[in-house]
Symmetry: C2
Subunit: 705 residues, 2 copies
């Protein structure tokens, strides 16, 4: 339950579906590497990657476990991602005195590379289809809840066995909402060090107004280096570099980790998204942003502490507003209804198929009704915990110890053996925790809970225990010892030594007010989770599996699954579009950056960092800075490399335009565009603004001898 | 009838109405100089111009009679307008060998200034309310048609008397659709010489795609000089110049000649605009653009001849598409219906008022039904004549001679004594006429007529006389002597010597095929005109007068009349807006120009003239080029000066953004913006790109000693 709920560009979500109509020649699809779009590419572009190309791309792509993507771009373990993906680490290694977020950071050499306290990177090494085993385990279950439990136990067992056999991070991934289960094996990297970061002001140039728009002028890049045994890691696969980038109309690929799409959702699920989930998110984001801004307004150091989170929540807010606008504009739901009708009619013509799925839509719809009863309560509870560093960790400690005493297959997923290493990275992180910020977030979330659910809501009541949010937060944050990583480690160790009963007795006597708060909310969190698993998740999985099979029968098997924050390959072309009565060019350049700044008189958020003002004369202003393509991406793709057919880096995905926000539910290439930093612009600024020729030269270069 | 139907930015039209709801603090209004918005300005901006300010601005403002605005900007008669307003002259003085449209023109000194063959400028010197006299003349008329005739006779008499007394151009202007009649006295200038024109490519940078959009990067300016007796004219009033322009948020004024608005139209009139007039225009423009492009595709010289007209019709087409989109988007008609309901309800509460207007809406609606029966036929007839240089002049000759034999008050308006000087300027112009272009336009218009009305339409049938459009055009254009101005003059002189009967006999025997074509269509044109005057115009005027009075009674007298291509004062502030998910800055700059060109790889219509490429290094790229403001403008305002409160020129109106196209019917300042060239950018390019320091220094300067 102790999930972090912060979100990258655009935000990750929770549900699932499929584009029912047979797809035309559109550049749609976030394909898995086990079912790449060879046919589509051959037909449309006369180019199909071979097995070696795919293996190379798969193993040079990197997942940032805090919610983004990246790639190896040198033989010496250099990893490229967005600044806004690297920001979590950059913020954690910054202080008021040396603020790398504001000032940027250029490591003069290996000795200067700064280690991130709790960053984990994953590289997908191999995969295996385990659908048959999972299905077999659940066969003959009495009901949905029982089937869900059996599947959970089986996937936990597969993961554990794989981990023990390979030493890799093993995850069973649910695709097609239950239609396919894949075992993914990842290499984990936890010694990751910052090499280069620009000033956030140029990485996120134009701030919230320009976010999710194009034309755009952002130098949204950061570079890290993976180490093993204190030496630069030498990956077997890394991308080479194209200095000139891709031309207008050129075929490009995006290899990254899209977080969540809902293209295969039923209409009932989509209505839930529109009517319950999206408005709830927007209300919640508004509350927390207001609180963070009030906190930041109290002084420079407060502002510095809050800035990353303000950025993150405003980002999510704008993305959800785009989605809400997409629903409100009309057309989306009508299209989805037509697709569903088409699916139903075609399925009805295949009696064996129809017998399986005839009740599926109704059962999923019923599950949405059930979910609507407690979704907001569950979200308030989980996000209150997830948004605070201290309460999240207190709950994790309380739950971790209890869960580890259960068989692996019966635990909450995040405490499975296969998840523990990654959990430990967050749990024992020595990244700074700011008391004022913690109190602010706790108060904001609880006040929002009171406002929307009332004081008698079980979570709110358990958390407050009769106190005001302010009094509770003051007591819990000021009184806890959990600020110290060692205290957290000690507590878990103590718990692991005791049996379940003794531990329960001991922890119940804890005088740490944050631990006591965690103990009060733990049963409420568990009850909400169980309710969701039994009445929603299990139904969606069971019926999802049937619908996925029916969809294959009706439309064929070429449609990629909805995004699940696992590695995908998308493709498209560099391309402008029509907007505001005219044509938007496919690229922007440094002229445009300086022009936009001058047009606003250099006022924030259109100001330029001093280094960029000083070095203007050195830049070739016509060099491309950002570009747009039709590649099919969504939140989680941030930091993905954009590759040409030769597999060279031509860009770095960092955003989508405002018209791309509905891609979550429906692909369109009329105006929706993926937005990337251009490889030429990356190098030009590294050389001319940051005067970092060694770093620039390393991009795409093999390992040093 | 020989009206030119070409149109500037955005297009001029034909009908009329009013914003009924009491206006809030919006910057709405194209005010007359006899009822300036002193109260509104004082309340909102704390500034109200005094009588001297108003007199000065009125007399320094200039009307370009080909459909635009301008202003005196030096004591030596220098006049500033848009390039696209000056284009008609620039095209006429260009040839294939010295193409000023393509290459631009910078006069090295007075001797190099090139006279325009048929350009007339007007400056409003004074005005007088003649409503009482016109109303009195029509009192006691038997019916609408009779009332219309009496009003026409009275206004003709007023104009003639005024002209004889003052030597000025005198026009009685109908305001509020008949609610007010004003006598305007203009000084006419016909010796107008080209001083400076940039290359059309930079004046109309971004071509049709960027037209009616913002951000924009157009150097849309041209400079002329007025001469009297072969010496530079020294106007009593001219505008001084602001080198720095207006700041974001600063109050600005626009003094110009908006062509047509329809804010006071009734719902029935608006429905006619939506359902009949707008679709008809769009169909007709598409036909003529296709024909002009086909003609232009045949070679460089053809392309040069056709380019100005392609520009002009594409401009009108995009404007009407914007209007059609505005209707289609919904909201506009609903708002107008509510306004009308409100007006009706308030009027009903005032018995004396209601007794006057209770039938007005129904009568106007009936007139619209009548008009719908023949509007397309009338438009095809008038535009076929108006779009061709030769047929337009042939018809003008035939009608002029006939009309001059009637009493002044009974003539078609365009042949009144007060109009004859201006008519002669076009009739005897020695501007080049291109036979190929003439044939192309004649064929395109007649083919469109056949397609939409059939061969039996009276105008189409009379024009073709059994021939194909191609055969007719070939015969008429190749066989006519009217290409020569002296032939046209000779024919009119002959006609003036004969009495009506003898002239009729003589002209009937003409062997000139263009004259014979004019003779065939003349009676059809007259019949359509009479039908319109008797069944539509007179009703709209009679009822319009009543509605205007009722509107004053209900809402007060502060609402300015709909635009009538007469001098108006608008105001607003320099201001950006929100679009495409972000904020649009209030200004653009030279960075943006070069950036947009580079982003499109310098491909047309985003290429730059060689001079602009060569001189890039000399420009301060951060200098503003274009800017947006909330001032209320519409087609005809092209070329209007934008002034600060001190009356200095801070810019030059040349366009509105796409959101401004519905301003024709409904003002909004949310996103609609007037777009102007910035005074600082005008000077910067004159100095650095065109190396014309003398011209730059003259801007705003007093008469040379």
């Amino acid at each position: 339950m102790a999930r972090k709920t912060r979100v990258l560009v655009p935000p990750a979500g929770a549900l699932l579906i499929m584009l029912l109509a047979p797809r035309g020649g559109a550049d749609e699809g976030m394909y898995t590497f086990h079912a790449p779009p060879l046919k589509e590419l051959k037909a449309k572009y006369g180019f199909a990657p071979d097995a070696a190309w795919l293996e190379h791309v798969m193993r040079a792509a990197v997942r940032f476990n805090n919610g983004g993507s990246g790639s190896f771009v040198s033989g010496n373990g250099l990893v490229m991602t967005n600044h806004h993906v690297g920001l979590d680490c950059i913020q954690k290694i910054s202080t008021g005195a040396k603020d790398y977020v504001k000032e940027g950071y250029v490591a003069a050499g290996p000795a200067d590379e700064v280690r991130c306290p709790d960053l984990e990177l994953n590289v997908l090494e191999s995969f295996e289809d385990v659908t048959a085993a999972v299905a077999k385990a659940a066969a003959g279950a009495a009901d949905d809840a029982q089937a869900g439990k059996l599947r959970k136990a089986e996937t936990a067992a597969i993961e554990k066995q794989c981990g023990e056999a390979t030493g890799l991070r093993c995850n069973v991934v649910t695709l097609y909402g239950g239609g396919q289960y894949m075992l993914y094996r990842y290499r984990r990297h936890t010694d990751v060090r910052l090499v280069f970061a620009p000033e956030q002001q140029i990485a996120f140039y134009g701030g919230d107004p320009d976010n999710f728009t194009f034309p755009r002028f952002d130098y949204d890049i950061s570079l890290f280096r993976v180490y093993e045994k204190d030496a630069p890691y030498r990956p077997a696969h890394f991308f080479s570099w194209s200095d000139k980038g891709a031309a207008d109309g050129e075929l490009v690929f995006v290899a990254g980790h899209p977080g969540t799409t809902g293209r295969q959702l039923t209409v009932a699920q989509l209505e839930f998204q529109r009517d319950v989930r999206t408005p709830n998110r927007l209300r919640s984001f508004a509350a927390v942003i207001a609180a963070l801004k009030a906190y930041g307004a109290k002084g420079d150091e407060n502002a510095r502490q809050a800035k990353e989170q303000v950025f993150s929540y405003e980002n999510a807010q704008k993305a959800y507003r785009g989605i809400a606008d997409g629903f409100a504009a009309g057309g989306l739901m009508e299209k989805k209804k037509k697709e569903e009708e088409d699916f139903v009619q075609r399925a009805q013509k295949l009696p064996a198929v129809w017998a399986e799925v005839k009740d599926s839509w109704a059962r999923i719809a019923k599950a949405q009704e059930a979910l609507a009863q407690f979704h907001v309560a569950q979200y308030v509870a989980e996000s209150t915990v997830g948004r605070t560093e201290l309460l999240r960790r207190a709950v994790a400690i309380v739950q971790l110890v209890a869960e580890k005493k259960k068989p692996n297959g019966e635990r909450l997923e995040e405490y499975r053996d296969s998840a523990l290493e990654s959990l430990a990275l967050d749990l024992y992180s020595d990244a700074p925790v700011y008391k004022g910020l913690e109190k602010t977030l706790l108060v904001a979330c609880l006040e929002d809970g009171i406002a929307v659910l009332g004081k008698d809501d079980p979570f709110v009541a358990a958390a407050l225990a009769g106190k005001t949010p302010e009094a509770l937060a003051e007591e819990a944050v000021e009184g806890t010892k959990l600020l110290e990583p060692e205290e957290r480690r000690k507590l878990v160790k103590e718990g692991e030594k005791l049996d379940a009963k003794k531990w329960a007795k001991k922890i119940a006597k804890s005088k740490d007010p944050m631990v006591r708060l965690a103990l009060r909310v733990d049963p409420v969190l568990r009850a909400l989770r169980k309710r969701w698993e039994d009445t929603v998740k299990s139904v969606e999985e069971t019926e999802g599996m049937k619908l996925a099979k029916a969809r294959f029968a009706v439309y064929g098997a070429d449609i990629p699954p909805d995004a699940t924050f696992t590695l995908r390959l998308a493709f498209g072309v560099v391309k402008g579009y029509e907007a505001e009565g005219t044509v938007v060019p496919p690229v922007t350049n440094f002229y445009g950056l300086y022009g936009r700044s001058a047009a606003f008189g250099g006022k924030p958020p259109f100001d330029l960092p001093p280094r960029w003002v000083a070095k203007k004369g050195a830049l070739d202003l016509s060099v491309p800075l950002n570009f747009a393509s039709t590649a099919d991406i969504v939140g989680g793709n941030s930091g993905s490399p954009v590759l040409n057919a030769k597999g060279e880096v031509v860009g770095l995905i960092f955003d989508g335009n405002i018209e791309s926000l509905v891609l979550r539910y429906l692909y369109t290439e009329e105006k929706a565009r993926a937005v990337a930093v251009h490889s030429a612009g990356i190098k030009e600024a590294l050389l001319e603004v940051y005067e970092a020729p060694a770093i620039a030269a390393e991009l795409g270069a093999p390992a040093a001898k």
